[in-house]
């Protein structure tokens, strides 16, 4: 069995890792140059949960029944449950390798909390409630790590205006993670080691407008424009130490779950549904940015409502499924078609043509499990985030409705494979669908001697 180490950089785009836009990463850069490099095509929806799980199971979000962090049960307006590791019903790459007799080390892969027994060790992800919870397998690993590195930092609140504090906390968290990984790589037995760093996604969201000169609200700032380059340097230096500790024949994979690009604005999807006659509120909320609740909706006149996020989930007020449904089963397909067409025709506030993508789960997944939305919508090819709040005078918001955010997700992330034994040739490999990665890595580990 070949050894594989996966450096998972949440949201790392080809722009930084392949084109080296604005970053200086001598160690990672030279590894990537010596690797086979693909443009990793992420899943629908292009978000952290479910994307990492799609990568490590080879199953689509429909088959997994996971369409984001949160889901609703039929009949609810808002979310009713949050995803955790119990929702994983398919075999992961680490299960496969364990069953083949290998040892695995998992750190930070979402959603792995609560931790499950594995043939090796597991430290859970940013969805862990806190460092006081049991986040490690075997259980005593928690004490072992805490006695050396202090309480584990799982995430940082990045949607805040105090940017210096966000930066400091993100650097502190990632420094701790890199030290832990170096320790685990050296001290533990493993054949497959997967390390996902969430900090890079947070850095992108919090500082992208100070970094990317093509951002519509680009702002040069002596301190803040250095944050993303400095963060990449931190990763590069940490990876240099980790790489030194890896056995020489280790295959090194660098992967991200989706890309990132500038956020043009937020599209208040429920305000648009109101304007188009699909949604009716009993009265307009007094405060802009109010959460939509069951009590606010005039259900007798409502056909659909939506959720915000990096994509919009649209739900139809279907008779028999929703408590006050008005859309009959026989009308459902027509309503979906009409609404999809209307959503695709949405233009920007200045009449700019948008490339909107509207999908039905049944059209894109081989199987649709769990609690899917009726429609999934991406505005202007993801450039406009969806906002679910109401009370706005216009659907076009210059900023996110959930706190400052500079970036949205993008379809292409990265997937690179470096084999010191040369069984994988270097150079560009074209596009790699995220669903194919689990099989690719399994074959790499198990088929080649």
């Amino acid at each position: 069995m070949r050894k594989v180490f996966v450096l998972g950089l949440d949201s790392a785009p080809p722009k930084t890792l392949y084109e080296r836009y604005g970053v200086d990463i001598p160690v990672l850069g030279s590894l990537i140059d010596d690797s086979r490099r693909w443009l990793m095509r992420t899943c629908h929806p292009p978000i952290t949960i479910p994307a990492w799980l799609v990568m490590f199971t080879g199953k689509t979000p429909g088959e997994l029944g996971i369409y984001g962090f949160r889901h609703r049960k039929p009949g609810d307006v808002g979310h009713t449950y949050i995803i955790n590791s119990n929702f994983i019903k398919h075999q992961t790459l680490w299960d496969t390798i364990s069953r083949a007799g290998g040892r695995v080390g998992i750190f930070g892969v979402p959603p792995t909390y609560p931790p499950r027994p594995v043939r090796g060790f597991m430290i859970t992800d940013f969805m862990t409630p806190g460092p006081e919870n049991q986040y490690a397998f075997p259980p005593w690993l928690k004490h072992e790590l805490e006695s050396r590195f202090g309480p584990l930092i799982f995430d940082v609140k990045f949607r805040r205006h105090d940017k210096e504090r966000v930066r400091d906390e993100l650097f502190q968290m990632t420094r701790q993670h890199l030290k832990i990984i170096e320790y685990l790589v050296k001290r533990k037995a493993w054949d497959l080691f997967i390390y996902v760093e969430i900090g890079i996604d947070r850095i992108h969201h919090a500082f992208w407008k100070y970094f990317d000169v093509s951002h519509p609200r680009y702002e040069e700032n002596k301190e803040l424009s250095r944050v993303i380059p400095d963060y990449y340097k931190l990763i590069d230096e940490g990876f240099k130490r980790i790489r030194k500790a890896l056995p020489k024949d280790t295959i090194i994979v660098v992967a991200s779950d989706h890309g990132v690009k500038s956020m043009a604005g937020a599209f208040a999807v429920n305000e648009w549904l109101i304007k188009e006659g699909y949604l009716k509120l009993k009265e307009k909320p007094k405060k802009p940015g109010t959460d939509l609740t069951r009590e606010m909706i005039d259900w007798d006149s409502t056909i659909a409502w939506g959720w915000g996020g990096y994509y919009s989930r649209i739900f139809i007020n279907l008779k028999g499924r929703e408590p006050k449904g008005i859309v009959g089963k026989e009308e459902f397909d027509d309503v979906i078609t009409q609404l999809s067409n209307d959503l695709r025709r949405v233009k920007g506030d200045n009449g700019a043509l948008w490339r909107n993508i509207v999908l039905r789960p049944e059209e894109i997944y081989p199987e649709v499990r769990g609690d899917p939305p009726d429609l999934m919508a991406y505005f202007d090819d993801l450039s406009w985030r969806a906002a679910g709040t109401v009370g706005w005078d216009t659907p076009f918001l210059p900023e996110n409705d959930r706190g400052p955010d500079d970036a949205v997700h993008d379809w292409h992330g990265v997937f690179t494979v470096y084999d010191p034994e040369g069984t994988v040739s270097r150079g560009m490999g074209g596009e790699m669908p995220i669903e194919r990665i689990a099989d690719y890595l399994r074959e790499l580990m198990l088929s080649k001697s």
């Binding site: 027994p117 949607r159 996020g309």
Partner: protein
């Protein structure tokens, strides 16, 4: 009447390692007690995990996701 038991085999090398560990570190009176303890610890992870988030944990996670702007 004592608890019903079954026998399983482990490698001599591992057995000796555990025996030496117990002699040097104490805490357990026999290899059998040590092995049962470790297995119980490992299985408790699975039992806890099967329950998913407790109500309190889910609230904590929701609060965090809210502050991250996801909810």
């Amino acid at each position: 009447m004592g608890e019903e038991t079954v026998s399983i085999e482990i490698s001599r090398e591992l057995y000796e390692k555990v025996k030496k560990y117990i002699e040097e570190n104490g805490g357990f009176s026999s290899v059998r007690e040590f092995v049962e303890f470790v297995i119980n610890e490992v299985l408790s992870t699975e039992e806890e995990a099967s329950a998913g988030y407790t109500k309190e944990e889910e609230e904590k996670v929701k609060e965090r996701l809210r502050s991250l702007g996801y909810l």
